[in-house]
Point group: C2
DNA sequence: AAATTAATTGAACGTACATTCAATTTAAAA
DNA sequence: TTTTAAATTGAATGTACGTTCAATTAATTT
């Protein structure tokens, strides 16, 4: 009896607009009032669905981190093959991944993790999941003797260190050519880590 | 005639307190009023020395980035030797470097670089300076035949990718043992890049 | 049509903020 | 001791913020 709940729909709508505005103007310049204005609703409605701004922020972080996981869209049923591994590496070292989420916001909340334990845990969980995903993929390929890798976990970890390290620098690089070249160089390093000369 | 100017002294004092407060409470929670309260001065005095909060923020960024450069404290007169190179690598992969500046703030402003060109340039300049410094060091050691490295620039770049990449992950790691082990592992990788087995 | 429940609005609150400007205090030089 | 210039204060401004609460509107069921 009574009205149907729009809670989840509305919450997602709000988060998406929050993301959009924060992406453009920065998280610290995005207020509840601004979000409400863009959505043409009353600010108190946002508070109604998220009791505090803190909770709204956590929801946005979850939203962003979920998108961050989208690298692993395609997963084979019976274990990963070379094609999956290849696709993943290409994804990791491509701008496509970068366009899945906003880097500025990603780093903004990453920085907040240094002071807020909850956020730190969220990030740690996602980063570990990414590493585990690649580790599993490498292991499966190794067992099928498609590649030869001494330690899948170590290899996956190293690849992510390369990815994170290279993007850290490249985010400041405006020269597109230099950007592409450096990304390509470290991609080839990743393929090397995976046992040699199978870069397609 | 008239009073002696305290401009530079006062400015540095303000920045240092700004740094201290922001380190503890986060940049976004640090207001001019708060800084003034801690210093027991009037907020308008801060505005007197830095016309806007933006300018004050830029000054803090410069302050932090200058500290970031302190890895290269010791420089030999007639070119770097193995000891210098060794010391630098040890520094890069040690907590000492991390304690030179606050990581939370470093990443906070790094995130702001995505939206503010001026900040981006500041960061780019510092990061390039670091890379160039290590490149030169490697080159000098190579010319003295102390190490054997095919391309000094490529090697330095790779080492920094490792450093940045490993800290990106380790900043979320609370297990001290795991932290130390991972750091050590990538340090050995750095030594390997520098031509083999001379890790002291 | 009446009852029920959730969505949504609108007004209001107190707070903290960056910044302004004029007035005052302090120190150094003439 | 007077002049001069900078340091410093103090009061005030307007704005935007997160949040509250009661009132109203809209949809769904009985």
């Amino acid at each position: 009896m009574g009205r149907k709940s729009l809670k989840e729909t509305r919450q997602l709508e709000i988060i998406k607009i929050f993301y959009k505005v924060a992406k453009k103007e920065g998280y610290e310049n995005t207020s509840i009032a601004k979000i409400a204005k863009v959505m043409d609703i009353n600010p108190s409605l946002i508070i109604h669905y998220f009791q505090t701004k803190e909770e709204l922020t956590y929801a946005l972080i979850d939203y962003i981190l979920d998108r961050y996981l989208l690298i692993y869209t395609i997963k084979s049923k019976d274990g990963a093959g070379l094609a999956d591994l290849h696709k993943t590496i290409e994804m990791l070292f491509s701008k496509k991944w970068n366009s899945l989420f906003d880097d500025g916001l990603f780093y903004t909340f990453y920085a907040m993790a240094f002071r807020e334990k909850k956020i730190k845990e969220k990030y740690k969980t996602i980063l570990d999941a990414l590493r585990l995903g690649l580790t599993t993929m490498i292991e499966e390929c190794h067992q099928k003797k498609l590649i030869k890798v001494a330690d899948a976990k170590v290899a996956a970890d190293l690849i992510f260190v390369l990815v994170d390290g290279v993007y850290f620098y490249l985010s400041l690089e405006s020269d597109k050519k230099a950007y592409a070249e450096k990304l390509d160089y470290y991609k080839s390093k990743a393929y090397f880590i995976l046992g040699g000369d199978w870069k397609p």
